[in-house]
Amino acid sequence: MTEKELVAKLNNLKNIKPDSQWKTSQRGILLSQIENTGVADLSAWQNFWIIIKSVFSAVPQTAYFSFAIILFLTGGLWYGRNLPLNPNSSLYIAKSISEKTHLNLIFNESEKTQLAMQYAQEHAQEIATTMANPKFNQTDTSTVNKLNASFKEEIGKLKNSLPKTDDSIVVSADSGKDANGLSVYDPTTEAVRQETSTVEPVVETKNANQILDEAQKLFDEKDYQGAVNKLEEAKSAIQ
């Protein structure tokens, strides 16, 4: 006979129960004996408090543990993007995941693009700042190579996110030209055009592009501080 079989046999003894008649009569006797012990009944508030405490005690510890993990992960996903981490940190991936999650939760396209730009700009800046540290730059070659590639990638992302400029001439009702394409000076429309002109942002976009190119160039020349400064400049230009 194995131990398992023996345990099963012992377990079978659970079916032994006292006579139900005896149980009922005994219950009655017990009730009458304790009835006159002069103990007051519990108030509704006491009962409520006991139920609450019992619920907490009945929940398995694994449930509390799982809840804590879920809370930690959710918190990490939501607030991880604000962590002051360097790109060479092993936890930087958590920050990237948090940013991606946050981006995916934004449904307004223009807002999403703006935020993606902001992240890319921040990444580029973080990489440049990390690379500016000579101690790191000279020791960890493999990470340096990776960061070089990442920087290019982030600059590329930034450039792609910038509004596209169109060089083709578009003749519109408000172009200030007649049907033959000749400029017509009208002081009223000129004043309006100057007020509502979209020329300014195009100029800024061009500037931002140029600044980003310069930042990339400085980065390639290992002038990391210069690249950081350029990125700051690009940031204000984009804004």
């Binding site: 345990v7 129960k17 006292p18 304790i34 103990v39 009944d41 005690s57």
Partner: protein
């Protein structure tokens, strides 16, 4: 083996908390919940149906007296408290040196099988019971006690440890030895 569902845990905790406030209804509910287990425990220790009945009644009354006059801070669960009182009551019973009738008394057949069981399970229970009825009293009392608590009434190691005042390690060793001893007693009978 001794898995307690969250619902049961809730029920037990709620009952015990209410008992700490000396709630009578809670005590009656506790009686309904544990009378079978306590009766079985006593029965396997004293080996006599009538005395098991009497002792079970005494145990529940003693428990109520204890609840009335104590804060119950020294007991972790109601089950553990009931078993502790059951043990001391049985010890007192032995001290009074009443004639002990063991489980292998042929004239005192056990007639406490639940009537709701189907025939097949009754046969199975009967054969198992018959075998263990004969062999269980031959075991040392502490072996018998841990086997009943652990495998019949399904108490956790923590609870048995609290009831007996032994460490969990000691209880494990005791269970191992008790199973070995019981097997050694049963196997020749089967063969």
């Amino acid at each position: 083996m001794s898995y307690i569902s969250p619902v049961q845990k809730f029920k037990e905790h709620s009952l015990f908390s209410r008992l700490k406030k000396k709630d009578k209804d809670a005590f009656v509910q506790a009686y309904d919940l544990y009378v079978d287990d306590i009766h079985r425990f006593v029965y396997f220790k004293v080996g006599n149906q009538e005395e098991a009945n009497d002792l079970t009644s005494i145990i529940f009354l003693k428990t109520w007296d204890y609840i009335k006059s104590n804060s119950l801070k020294d007991s972790k669960t109601l089950r553990a408290l009931l078993y502790k009182i059951a043990r001391t009551t049985i010890v007192d019973y032995y001290r009074q040196s009443k004639p002990h009738i063991s489980l292998d008394n042929e004239e005192k057949k056990i007639d406490v099988i639940d009537e709701n069981q189907d025939v097949m399970s009754q046969i199975s229970v009967n054969s198992d019971l018959e075998l263990i009825r004969k062999k269980l009293p031959e075991l040392k009392i502490e072996y018998r006690e841990v086997l009943i608590m652990r495998f019949v009434n399904e108490l956790s190691l923590e609870e048995i440890s609290e009831i007996t005042g032994k460490t969990k390690g000691n209880i494990r060793v005791l269970i191992f030895r008790a199973l070995k001893a019981l097997r050694e007693l049963i196997e020749p009978a089967i063969n």
